[in-house]
Symmetry: C2
Subunit: 411 residues, 2 copies
């Protein structure tokens, strides 16, 4: 050890940390990962005017933690959230039922912090947001995956899991679900199944953790059944976000829950408040323009989805199975069973094509070994076409599939 | 249990949670708590123009997580931080050594997450930021308080603590210190003591966790010794903030550390990034106006401090001992030994006067039973005078002290 390094910090690290990140070297050329949004749909000029107006008007309040609005966050934004979820998700709430968080991810962290101790059990959808799996496991929880079909959670299977756990004396801490534009499968849970889920939660006394971060971005607005929270507020913790409806670099999300939950959750939120400037701007913009904004955004995203589907059909032909989403910013696809997408994910990234391997979005990685999640919001249509062509080329080089692309047999 | 509440969420809560928060009912009339800043010193008009300019220019980037700048945060802000700490704190760093966090509190959370497991030991200054004590204890760490004198950490006492712990086979995970405008005592550690501290860290192989969140707000700019990080980068994790130098409702702070630390710390930062709009605005404003801003802010704060000291001397006379700070936004004071400030803190709050009781800022609460921390940045000078008069009245009603206020004997 050199004179300048009398000890290694790493010696002091606790056990069980995640893998260190590599140095950031820029986004990949063809970027189908994560939840980036469409930069051309960010209303930069309007947001610039809005920001100028709200800061000139309320900027002095920035001198106070939380603008002096208290730990639940910006009052106007909470009013907007309450109004929005009433109009679009059937939720009867006021600003008092809403806590603003730094993205829905902080909401998820806080719910986990509230409920999970090492050894606890949680039920997640068998295919779900990778971060939800990782965050629960990082707190030492045992993750049980509940099967999905084309309509979302399979209620008979969920009942079986709950009964098995009860027989083992295990009461899960929550059932985590993304009922409205499920991640990654894109389905919307029917009202009938929602009612069944509420009944199971009641029967087994297991809270529901409802993540609706994609619910505002649907192809046919208004056609989704009401949020689980609206059906049984005493059984559900509800989180949402503006990352998908506006922009993910703005870190603004929310939790809606009973005060017995919020009061304890906010006691754990030792962050000095969520960024106020972002709350001010989102509140001002969306209080006026939420419906208009979504009316522009969703067709633009839908158009990119169509381009992606066309490109996949052209480049992968019958070797790709497509799960058409009801909204959102990603597409879940499956390659033939013999293809393990992990066999070419790293090579693809090296060659500038990034996708989310199915195993990262599955409680049991093997279940999704042939799947990919493709986010279509960030790349242009041209980049989508080029990127999928590249992906097909790379996939073929490593797996022999797809055998044909655009009527041309490959090597 | 009613039909609507088939179970109580609280049954599912894990053990060891903090006390739930009460409903927020507004800020107290005379507010001497926390780290609020002076609202009249927030340059609202300028920030409005800045925000408008940066969003019009770079707003589309908000469509990408972290603006596409990667997990360390906004490149321009990291450049500014590196430049600022080079100029003002003697730190040789580039943007690669800086990670932007959601306030320095997130930095603190991440350092704790990185290093602390239940049963670990940490050394804190015996009087220190209450959040630092609470956060370490929340992770199950054993907190050892190291004595301070008027010049900050007492190095002989610290050596004794380190030797005792070594004899017990305990290697502390860090020595947490606020060397430059100590919280709550307001002292600045001398260069000689900084060198001794570095030597102790080296000898006992214990990292230093340096919190400089107040370092930019000093009465005599330039006269503070260089940061501990600058003296021994391989031994120190350094955090800082813009809450005190600009506005606390903006959640922007930073960590400077070796890549072995940052790469692991950022792997734990599962928040989707720090709010980008706040980073954009702080970067743009402070890249141009940091020195000018501080040149306006610090005399304004100093003026309020003088008002506070005058008011205390008038209302408490010889019953108050004042620890004049070298900068910052708070004053540490002591009442006579027989006064326990906890005996009237709640009553004062009910009557509209909020202060931080000394015991909340002490590893051993009893050590600071007669102390108060008074933040002077938020209230106007008029409010300071009125609030301290009220405080003296309430204190006297509960403790019989102060006996005289403004030459008038009290009841």
């Amino acid at each position: 050890m050199s004179q300048n390094s009398p000890f290694a910090f790493t010696d002091a690290f606790r056990d069980g940390l995640p893998v260190p990140i590599p140095r950031f070297t820029g986004l990949p050329k063809y970027n189908f990962v994560y939840g980036h949004n469409d930069p051309s749909e960010v209303p930069a000029e309007t947001l610039a005017q809005i920001a100028s107006r709200v800061i000139a008007r309320d900027g002095a309040l920035l001198g106070k933690y939380n603008l002096g609005h208290g730990p639940q966050g910006h009052e106007g934004l909470r009013d907007f959230v309450a109004d929005k979820v009433a109009r679009t998700r059937g939720i009867a709430a006021t600003r008092d039922d809403v806590a603003i968080t730094s993205g829905s991810l902080q909401g998820m962290d806080l719910v986990n912090q509230l409920l999970l101790a090492p050894g606890d059990t949680v039920i997640l959808e068998s295919l779900t947001y990778g971060g939800a799996i990782a965050k629960a496991r990082a707190r030492g929880a045992h993750v049980v995956g509940a099967p999905l079909d084309g309509g979302g959670l399979d209620m008979a299977a969920l009942r079986g899991i709950l009964e098995d756990l009860r027989q083992q004396g295990v009461r899960p801490k929550y059932i985590y679900t993304i009922p409205t534009v499920q991640n990654p499968t894109g389905s919307i849970l029917s009202l009938e199944r929602r009612r069944e889920l509420i009944a199971l939660s009641r029967e087994f006394a297991v809270p529901i953790f409802e993540d609706e971060c994609y619910a505002d971005v649907r192809w046919a607005a208004g056609d989704a059944p009401p949020a689980l929270y609206s059906l049984a507020p005493a059984q559900v913790i509800h989180i949402g976000s503006f990352s998908k409806s506006l922009a993910p670099a703005l870190r603004v999300g929310y939790v809606i829950a009973d005060w017995s939950v919020l009061s304890q959750l906010l006691a754990c939120k030792g962050d000095g408040g969520t960024g106020a400037l972002e709350q001010m701007v989102v509140a001002e913009y969306f209080s006026q323009s939420f419906d208009d904004h979504l009316a522009r955004l969703t067709p633009a995203l839908r158009g990119k989805l169509d381009t992606l589907v066309e490109a996949l059909e052209k480049e992968f032909g019958t070797d790709v199975e497509i799960f058409m989403p009801e909204g959102g910013i990603f597409l879940w696809v499956k390659l033939p069973d013999e293809v393990d997408v992990r066999s070419f994910a790293a090579a693809a990234l090296e060659q500038g094509v990034a996708f989310n391997p199915g195993p990262d979005w599955a409680c049991d990685p093997e279940e999704a070994r042939s799947h990919m999640r493709l986010c279509f919001a960030l790349p242009s249509k041209q980049q989508i076409r080029e990127g999928i062509a590249e992906l097909a080329r790379i996939c073929h080089a490593h797996t022999g599939r797809p055998r044909r692309s655009a009527n041309v047999a490959r090597g």
